[in-house]
Symmetry: C2
DNA sequence: TACTATACCTAATTTACTTAGGTATACTTA
DNA sequence: TAAGTATACCTAAGTAAATTAGGTATAGTA
C-alpha cells in the first residue's frame, strides 16, 4: 500500500485545517509543513496541491494575498468565513471517519 | 466532504484486515461488517468491493471457497500465506499513516 | 403478489491523484 | 563563473480507484 493513500480524498480537509491553524500559508510552505509534521512519512506533491488550492479558491473557501519576499512571489492563502465553517465541519467528519475506520479494522463477527 | 473518503485508497487494507480477523468472509458479509462496525457511518458499495476482491485474488493475496447456504451461493474468501503477510504489513503502514495524518492536522508553524 | 433481504456481478463515467514536465529567482558550492 | 540546490509558482496527459447505474437470481416477509 502506498503510504500516502490516506491523504487521498482528505486533501482539501488537510489544506483547510493547516491554513486555519496558521492563519495564512502559501503553497510551497504547505508542502513543507506536511513533510515536517509527518516526519517525512508523507509527501504532498505540488501537482496535487496547486489544483486543489485553486479549486478551494473557486469554491470561495480560501482567498489569496500576493506578497513579494526575498525577490520571489508568494501567494498567501487564508480562510474565508465560509472556509472557516467548512474547515470545522470537514475536520469533524474526518475525525469521525478515522474513528470509524479504526473500529472497522478491529471488527470481529459476533457469531464468529 | 464525503464521509467515506477515508476508505478510498485503503480499501484493500480494510478488506484484508477484516478477512484476517474473521478467518473467512464472503462479499456481502463484508459490506454488512463495515456498516455495523462503523455504526452506519461508513458504507462499502458492492461495486467497490467486488472488483477489489477479484484484484486481491488475482494478486494471490486471497483465495475462494464456494458454499451453498440456504439455497444461495456464497464465495468465502480467506487469506493466502502471502495475503497474511501483506495484511500485517499494510495494517502497520495504515496505522502509521493515520498517526501522521493526525500530526499534520494539528501542525502549527514554529515561527508562526 | 409485491417488496425486502440476501448474494453475486459488470460497464461506463467521474474524480482525484501521479507522472512528467515548464518557468523563474536566490543561494551555495566547485 | 558555472552548476546545482532551494524556493516558488504552475499545467497537461495519463492512470487508478472510486461512483453511478445498472443486471441476475433466490429466499423470506407483508
Amino acid at each position: 500500500m502506498d503510504k500516502d493513500k490516506i491523504i487521498k480524498g482528505s486533501l482539501s480537509t488537510i489544506i483547510l485545517q493547516l491554513i486555519q491553524n496558521n492563519n495564512q500559508m502559501y503553497g510551497y510552505e504547505i508542502t513543507k509543513a506536511v513533510k515536517e509534521a509527518s516526519k517525512g512519512k508523507m509527501g504532498l506533491s505540488e501537482a496535487a496541491l496547486y489544483p486543489t488550492l485553486h479549486k478551494l479558491e473557486d469554491e470561495g473557501l480560501i482567498e489569496t494575498e500576493t506578497k513579494i519576499v526575498n525577490g520571489r512571489t508568494r501567494k498567501y492563502y487564508s480562510l474565508t468565513k465560509k472556509g472557516n465553517t467548512a474547515s470545522i465541519d470537514q475536520l469533524a467528519v474526518l475525525k469521525e471517519a478515522i474513528a470509524s475506520l479504526q473500529n472497522v479494522l478491529k471488527y470481529k463477527l459476533s457469531n464468529g
